[in-house]
């Protein structure tokens, strides 16, 4: 296991990270307000699942080995999944909301920076207790108390002001699409990025970092759609961004608004289905949580993640491979599309169809370790970065092991995973490139109009 400064014996005391947004929030609280707010959340929202999970947990600790934080901190009990509940929501229930500021500082840190809501522990707990759901309940309380770390809250504000994650203005969005269309037309003369086209088969939605600083992904997606002869569109109006940090701050009302505008935009354009770009949390929001909050058992319009869509293209022979990708690759399963959608096997089929050599990392599929960026943890920003990276030395071990087997490239079809893995690779000296599946497909596919 990698050495890092805090990895020695189990710590019984924790050093709290001082975070300006949390402190500002705490300054505004009174004991009465804390109690009232917590009780309001518990009485309105803590239902049968919540109560049953609290009563059923037998304190056996069997969930511990699931968690990368626990494994990376040399089995420090503070980082075991159920321990995160003991330090947060159990205590809140026990004290019926009568908790103090120091407790809340600690609870914010545990709930926001020590759990990626990756749900790996639900596969290790014999009772299938959904610890991520319980941590989310803690975050909901933190949100209601106004204590969300400021970096993450800023993203949530961007969502409420602009319906996208990164303060992208409407004209900037349209401009980004035109720009990428222009660029791509040099390579593919007939290519279009169809904006506001009614009745297309596909409504393609992405997360705001794509127009903001990963515009090549829009380019590549357009190239793939073009090569596959797809009938697709993107909207000119808000609703193009499928991301959702509000889901992770516990601002469910805002999560609902975001998903509503996303679904309604797709429905307004009379699209047959939504295809989402290579992002895990966005998919979770559209397919799992946002729809639920809005009262839809399943999304009101079929939603397909990019990986599934690519799989379809290869299955139907709509994309042909010119030369397979040469460098040996491995595949990192993003939690939200593996545990969240079971796309691990389809992803592997696409990888095998496009790459010469595929090497599995261990563990893999549903059992893969989270990148430690997910669940909004990376969005909590700089104050928690070291902690996030230290909390995932096990990922570095896993990556080094697969690199030792010869892998030179890790494919991760999720934006968050890219952020998380980049930091891990850099901090622990893992030497592998990180790529999206579309990077590979774009590189190896037969390009229309080219020899």
């Amino acid at each position: 296991m990698n050495e890092h400064p805090e990895s020695s014996a189990p710590k019984s005391e924790r050093k709290i990270i001082v975070e300006p947004g949390v402190e500002r929030g705490i300054a505004k609280l009174t004991p009465e307000k804390i109690e009232k707010t917590i009780r309001a959340v518990l009485s309105a929202e803590a239902g049968a699942r919540f109560k049953t999970y609290i009563d059923t947990c037998v304190h056996c600790g069997l969930c511990s080995d699931a968690c990368h934080f626990f494994l990376s901190h040399d089995r420090d009990p503070l980082f075991a999944p159920a321990a995160k509940l003991k330090q947060t929501i159990w205590e809140i229930v026990k004290k019926d909301g009568k908790v103090d500021e120091d407790f809340l500082r600690k609870a914010v840190e545990v709930a926001h920076s020590e759990c990626n809501l990756c749900r790996r522990c639900s596969m290790y707990c014999p009772f299938g207790i959904d610890i991520a759901y319980m941590v989310m309940m803690m975050r909901r309380i933190v949100h209601k108390l106004g204590l969300t770390p400021q970096n993450m809250q800023d993203t949530a504000h961007s969502h409420s002001a602009t319906y996208n994650q990164m303060w992208v203005k409407e004209d900037e969005w349209i401009d980004a699409l035109h720009w990428q269309e222009d660029e791509a037309r040099e390579e593919f003369p007939g290519l279009r990025i169809p904006i506001e086209k009614e009745g297309s088969d596909i409504f393609y939605s992405v997360i705001a970092p794509e127009p903001k600083f990963r515009a090549q992904l829009l380019y590549q997606a357009a190239a793939i759609f073009h090569a596959a002869g797809a009938n697709w569109t993107m909207p000119a109006t808000p609703g193009w961004d499928n991301s959702d940090i509000c889901m992770f701050t516990g601002d469910h009302e805002m999560m609902g608004r975001l998903k509503k505008v996303h679904f309604e935009t797709a429905l307004r354009l009379k699209a047959k289905r939504i295809v989402t770009g290579e992002c895990g949390h966005a998919f979770r929001s559209v397919y799992d949580m946002g729809n639920r909050w809005l009262g839809y058992k399943m999304p009101p319009i079929p939603v397909v993640h990019a990986v599934e869509y690519y799989h379809e293209l290869f299955e139907q022979g709509k994309i042909k491979v010119k030369n397979k990708y040469k460098k040996p690759v491995t595949f990192h399963d993003p939690c939200n599309i593996s545990r969240g959608m079971g796309l691990h096997d389809k992803a592997r089929e696409v990888v095998r169809a496009t790459c010469e050599t595929f090497i599995e990392m261990e563990p893999n599929r549903e059992h893969n370790y989270c990148c430690s960026a997910g669940g909004g943890v990376i969005n909590c920003g700089a104050p928690y970065k070291i902690k996030r990276v230290e909390g995932n030395s096990i990922k570095a071990d896993q990556m080094k092991a697969v690199a030792a087997k010869g892998a030179q490239v890790v494919i991760a079809p999720c934006h968050n995973c890219h952020g998380g893995l980049e930091d891990i690779h850099e901090s622990y000296g893992v030497h592998m490139e990180i790529k999206f599946l579309s990077d590979i497909i774009y590189e190896v596919m037969e390009k229309p109009g080219q020899e």
Partner: protein, 219 residues
Amino acid sequence: MHSLYYLVSGPLVWVSIALFLGGIIYRVVSMAKLARKKDIFVYEYWSPYYALRSILHWIVPFGSVNMRKRPVMTVVTFLFHICLLALPLFVFAHVILVKESWDVSWITLPETASDLMTIIVIGACAFFVGRRLFVPEVKFLTSPSDFLVLAIVATPFISGFWTYHQFAGYKAAAIVHMLSGEIMLAAIPFTRLSHMIFFPFTRGYMGSEFGAVKHARDW
């Protein structure tokens, strides 16, 4: 002593059975009602097939990755739970009591088997106490009530063993045996022992969500 004996072997048996059954019904009904009110999606997503698929993976020894990773714990828990459930139902002395009262009976365990199983239950309880004391991540989660629950479970078996082997003071041990057995039965719905009741629901729900909605395995 006689009146105490009469009490624990007569009325209290009925009280504990009533608390046990009534408690289970009460807990399940109130959970179901609350879920209707606040977690309606539980009903929507519940899938008998996937619930059962998950439950089966978790009640078959070594059926999950975590169980395979912890062979000792797996063997101990399975033996413990099997003995814990089977002993009271099939131990000769219990079946005989039922036969004498209502003239119905069923198969019984050979005496050496019951003896061995009792020792397994007691040994497993000691193992669990050990985990709670010495395994850091378990110790951190442990509260005094967890030891109490273990004591509630172990006492009927220790005293039963004592009575059966007629060790010194076994008459008193017999009373302790009956009383502690009744306490255990009555405690099931109202303590952490309720995990027995809720297991099919929590596991089944996770199985349904993972299987039917997320198309993934949860073991």
